[in-house]
């Protein structure tokens, strides 16, 4: 196996832990709510998935646990920002800190537990495709979930009534309200689903690709997911590209070293961030969507 293949294999697997949360954050932001607590929801998801896997012996059931754990913290963010009109950025940070503390306390004993992580699954014929097969189709379950999510989210957001309502809520919630819908409920749902996906991303770390639980194991990747959405100017395909590129660059950092290629260390450490930024600036040249108009704006009198 050569370096480029390994870079892509590791990059897709690791990148999935950012792709899924960033698609969740996209959903939330299109409905008008920024969730800086994505990092916290990922952490909760990572621990939730690990704990459930330890309890049941099944990493697949663990993923469900991670999704629920992420969603619980999403509900808190939704309650604070939508129903208590809290500042979205502040509430997001509170959710992050809370998750950091809660998972730190509850997670202590799980560091010593050993699990069987999600197995690598080969997709029949597809995995036999020369070169690309082993890279794309010899991965764990959540990587495939990542593949399916992008078209699914594009379809829901742009081809269904629910998607239209969600995007309208992010632009003009008052109009949505006048039309007889409940923007608060739509936002709360979007935030919760977004956090659920963040939880699944956390699960990809703890019971998927890495296979261990550790305090603060998300190491800021949740914030990367939020940043990717911003730089991808709220376009799902670009979000996906940005998140995978980050994963691939992170993997390249290691592969370059094992091949004895010397690069300045500061540059190497900055590589994932730089490459993602540059790539997204380039793909956004054609102009993207503007930020949802009602993003980060508390609704005072609309219910």
């Amino acid at each position: 196996m050569n370096g480029i293949e390994q870079t892509l294999i590791g990059g897709i697997a690791g990148g999935t832990a950012i792709v899924i949360p960033s698609l969740g954050e996209l959903t939330s932001e299109l409905a008008g709510i920024v969730n800086l607590g994505t990092e916290g929801c990922m952490l909760a998801g990572a621990l939730g998935a690990y704990a459930v896997t330890v309890a049941t012996g099944s990493a697949e059931i663990g993923v469900a646990g991670g999704a629920i754990a992420g969603a619980v913290f999403g509900l808190l963010h939704a309650y604070l920002t939508i129903y208590r009109k809290a500042d979205q950025l502040t509430s997001g940070l509170v959710v992050w800190f809370l998750a950091l503390g809660v998972t730190g306390v509850l997670g202590t004993s799980y560091v010593n537990d050993v699990i069987t992580p999600l197995p690598v699954i080969s997709i029949g014929g597809l995995s036999k495709v020369p070169w690309l097969g082993p890279i794309l189709f010899h991965q764990d379950l959540l990587v495939y979930v990542g593949y399916v999510l992008v078209p699914l989210i594009i379809f829901i957001l742009h081809r269904t009534r629910i998607g239209l309502l969600l995007r309208s809520t992010g632009e003009r919630p008052e109009v949505v309200s006048v039309a007889g819908n409940r923007p608060n409920l739509i936002q709360a749902t979007a935030v919760t689903i977004g956090a659920l996906l963040a939880g699944v991303g956390g699960a990809q770390l703890s019971v998927g690709y890495v296979g261990t639980w550790f305090d603060d194991m998300t190491s800021g990747y949740g914030f990367v997911a939020v940043a990717v959405v911003l730089f991808a100017s709220w376009k799902p395909l670009r979000v996906m590209v940005g998140a995978y590129i980050f994963g691939v660059a992170l993997s390249a950092e290691s592969v370059l070293q094992t091949n004895g290629i010397a690069i300045n260390q500061y540059l190497l450490d900055a590589l994932p961030y730089l490459v993602t930024l540059i790539a997204l600036v380039i793909v956004s040249r054609k102009g993207g969507r503007k930020a949802p108009e009602a993003l980060n704006r508390a609704l005072i009198d609309v219910t």
Partner: protein
């Protein structure tokens, strides 16, 4: 409308204070623990504080510190031990030290490499508190209430290298490390030299993560090494589970560091280097309590070694993959080190062929601590700052 808004704001503020309070309480709960050896209060009891950079249950560096601190609490009379973990290497550690002093601590062990400047400064401003720093090296005058301590970590690490060199089929060993600090460079060099001593063809491939514990980066590093063909992985990270898990999935072998993690992968575990800090902690605390700290060996850069029979880093139990013949060979080598031999006896060459240690010369600890190149046989470069 305005009134309603102000009312909302006030309620919000209240809510945030509550939520924030709960959050910080939980963080504090997560990071602070107290264990008391004797319940008696100030009557002759000395409070000792231990500060750790990571989680006390990391199956690595910090757990080794925590376990030893609990041994101190259990085995020493009239000692009250307080601990704080997950304290970052910034001014937080100064706050933590102050908080411990406010709780009556007279002795503080600051156990992470990056605590050094804060610990030294704190010692200077608090003459009545004795501050010990784990892993630091002070060139210059020591305050009367400050000391650093460490062990010749590279000795047991070289023995782990022997085990690795003996089982590898690909002659490629992988080493995941955090930062190119002197201790780590020494460890990588010793690991490779140990491996070479039993397998001249063995090469050590290195990857750095620029982080003491980032499981995703560790996994990527391990995956890259395994893809390169490495069939034994070792590491110098604070938390070691991610690398061990990666090796386990690939049916590769593991040489551990910091803490005996053989239970994570019993079949792949070869051996490792594990900290046994309790005897040293106890000796330091006794010296301070007896009033003889000033001017003692602990009021300096103390470095335990095999030769002096006080190395805090010891060889971990062997896994079943290490053959009986190899075990006795490694133990024989350990005995030689205890009798004064050194893994760094010259001639030793850098990667670029430059002579690092001249033939026949055994470098001092200070010299070894100044090594700035990987030895021949290591693949990878030292990151330039």
């Amino acid at each position: 409308m305005l009134r309603k808004f102000t009312f909302l704001k006030r309620r919000l503020l209240k809510l945030f204070v509550t939520v924030g309070g709960v959050a910080s309480l939980l963080v504090t709960l997560a990071s602070c623990g107290t264990s008391t050896a004797s319940a008696s209060s100030s009557g002759g009891t000395t409070t000792v504080g231990f500060i750790m950079v990571g989680s006390r249950s990391d199956y690595g560096y910090n757990q080794a510190v925590y376990v030893a601190s609990q041994t101190v609490a259990k085995e020493m009379n009239n000692i009250k031990v307080i601990t704080a973990d997950n304290i970052p290497e910034n001014s937080s550690v100064t706050q933590t030290m102050q908080a411990m002093v406010n709780q009556g601590a007279k002795i503080i062990f600051a156990t992470s490499y990056g605590y050094f400047p804060y610990a030294l400064k704190f010692a200077k401003s608090h003459p009545t508190v004795t501050v010990l720093h784990q892993g630091g090296y002070l060139t210059g005058k020591f305050p009367a209430n400050f000391g650093t301590y460490w062990g010749e970590a590279f000795e047991p690490v070289s023995l782990g290298g022997m085990a690795a060199g003996s089982v590898t089929k690909t002659n490629k060993l992988g080493f995941v490390y955090a930062f190119p600090i002197p201790q780590t460079i020494d460890n990588i060099d010793a690991f490779e030299l140990g491996a070479q001593s039993v397998n001249p063809k063995a090469k050590t491939y290195v990857v750095n993560t620029s982080n003491w514990c980032d499981p995703l980066k560790q996994k990527e590093a391990a995956a890259a090494l395994l893809a390169q063909g490495a069939d034994v992985l070792s590491q110098h990270q604070d938390c070691q589970a991610a690398v061990i898990e990666a090796a386990k999935q690939a049916h590769a072998y593991v040489v551990g560091y910091h803490y005996d993690a053989s239970s994570l992968d019993p079949s792949g575990w070869l051996t490792g280097s594990v900290w046994n800090w309790a005897p040293l902690y106890k000796s330091i605390i006794s010296t301070i309590l007896s009033g003889h700290f000033k001017g003692s060996k602990y009021n300096a850069n103390f470095v335990g070694s095999f030769a002096a029979h006080n190395n805090p880093l010891v060889l971990a139990p062997f896994g079943k993959a290490v053959s009986p013949a190899m075990r006795s060979k490694i133990l024989a080598e350990e005995a030689k080190l205890k009798a004064g031999a050194s893994i760094f006896k010259g001639p030793i060459y850098c990667q670029n062929g430059q002579l690092l240690v001249p033939p026949g010369v055994t470098p001092t600890y200070a010299q070894i601590n100044n090594f700035s190149c990987f030895v021949k046989g290591v693949v990878g470069t030292i990151p330039q700052g």
